[in-house]
Symmetry: C2
Subunit: 323 residues, 2 copies
């Protein structure tokens, strides 16, 4: 039986526990498991336990880590170095450590610096979420059909990678192997800029002197475009703080693009304005076509000719043996 400790029973930690436990007796690569839950806030572990996301509530980090094969850290990005330091002396021999943060390069650097060499670290990032946060918003369906990035290092033992891949498989997600710096550049564009722009749009309109009257006219378009502005503040702050270089580049691109659009507006350049909207409509339609149910399937990342980075069938190639 594989012992899996989840540290941090928020939305992602609790949803992960629920999704893992929902299939506890299935005969996949992971086999039988036991989920140990720990959170500095006892109310969170209580809620997670009530939602069937935990088999055993741990009262301390030490207790959570005793004899544990896999430790999943589900805490904000900037909490990670401190947590690594706490974990380091407590980890069972050979225990694998993974996380669920939205940025990967900085986390990998901290792991490399702080964790014992005998404890492999495999960075993880489930591409799934909700506006609502905390264990009360958790659902075992959160990861179904979604992409789950794994960022092992060049020297990470295959068994450690296989264990994480088995977890991804159990919760119904699709493993997507990617190098950490590349991951951070990509998600800055398709995941972090969206919440920056959503928050920016709310701040800009809500701080206008006419907001009271304007807000009465704001409808579903405003609601949907700004949805991500209701996400967790600490999570967003930590993502930005640990992905500054990639965000800086995308912010420059965004500003340059808006300046060029503004120039077309001021000039009344009808052709440029038409192109701006028709290119976006076409590109989004193409993207949606490739995403059944808005979530990518195998077809999206197989055969991309990027063997070093993307190895979705690595576990399959290893014969699917249990780890």
């Amino acid at each position: 039986m594989i012992r899996i400790a989840i540290v941090g029973m928020g939305l992602i930690g609790t949803s992960l526990g629920m999704a893992l436990r929902a299939g506890t007796n299935v005969s996949d690569a992971l086999g039988q498991i036991q989920v140990i839950g720990y959170d500095v806030d006892k109310a969170n572990t209580k809620e997670a336990r009530g939602r069937l996301g935990i088999d055993v509530v741990a009262d301390s980090l030490k207790q959570a880590l005793e004899g544990t094969h896999l430790v999943v850290l589900a805490v904000p990005a900037q909490t990670m170095p401190g947590l690594f330091r706490e974990l380091a002396p407590l980890l069972a021999e050979g225990a694998v450590v993974t996380d669920v943060c939205s940025t990967k390069a900085q986390i990998a650097a901290w792991a490399d610096e702080i964790l014992p060499k005998s404890n492999p670290f495999v960075g993880g990032h489930p591409m799934a979420g909700r506006d609502a946060s905390g264990p009360k918003a958790a659902t075992p369906e959160l990861f179904k059909g979604s992409v789950y990035c794994l960022c092992p290092g060049l020297t990470t033992p295959p068994q450690a990678i296989a264990l994480c891949e088995a977890v991804v498989d159990r919760i119904g997600a699709k493993t997507y192997f990617i190098e950490p710096v590349e991951h951070d550049a990509y998600v800055a564009g398709i995941s972090h800029m969206p919440f920056v722009l959503a928050a920016g749009l709310v701040n800009m309109t809500a701080s206008a002197s006419s907001w009271r009257e304007m807000s009465a006219l704001a409808a579903t378009g405003f609601r949907d475009t700004t949805r991500l502005a209701s996400g967790d503040v600490i999570m967003h702050r930590d993502i930005v703080m640990t992905n500054r270089i990639a965000l800086d580049r995308w912010l420059t691109d965004t500003i340059t693009q808006l300046q060029s659009f503004q120039e077309a507006v001021v000039k009344g350049d009808e052709a440029a304005i038409t192109d701006f909207f028709s290119q976006a409509k076409t590109a989004r339609a193409t993207w949606l076509e490739q995403k059944p149910g808005m979530r990518p399937g195998e077809a999206d990342y197989e055969d991309t000719g990027m063997d070093l980075v993307q190895r979705p069938s690595l576990f399959g190639r290893m014969g699917g043996k249990k780890s």
Copy 2:
């Protein structure tokens, strides 16, 4: 019986016809009506008729306007001046003209310049829509509970305003009286900037050299933030072309705000980054609280102390008599 001609059987025109006809025998201020539909594309009137959005299909603009009390123009904004010129000699005596465009000042200026003085113009803007366009996407529920802006001029006869208000009432929307220039400035912020930012985000990410790999990681956050980028290109172009001054101002504000956020990112100014996200989260939560079902009710626009601009109960004050 009131004869209402709808010119342009796209999403809005067809939905309006369906919503009006769904309650044809109700004893509200509007009473019994007949809906005449016209579109340069016969396939659209056929589709609209099949969806029960039209009583009578008109083969020409002339036929549509014969003995008609109210003409609703549901065409893109830049088509309006040409259409006004075609309408002018054909309008029945005293017939009221309204439109459904997302910008109001330019349309009002064209109406003032082109339409006969004996035909009152009341600009209209239903704050409701869908990504999909055309009559196939039409639904009689589109306007239920939404805000419907009416922009009468200072000399518009009360009966003309009352007729438009009765239409808004019949389709289940709430009338919101507003001055055209003010309308355009407000909707530029809460309605037009959202689709500009949505299209901009798609263009920026989709034109990146790494888009193929990035797109596989884009999930529901990207989908929702960019939803408006799938809207009708001609409609978006015409909105921008007829609302250039207001959009120019909001674009400057957006760029300034992103530059200031970028500065905080480059510096690693954690406090400024936290403020950026917490202010947005709070403002959006407050906005949502005030919007049961994401749509404003009476409470949102009554008692604002802006009698000249906002007169939601004007029709009520007139005793609710049929026009």
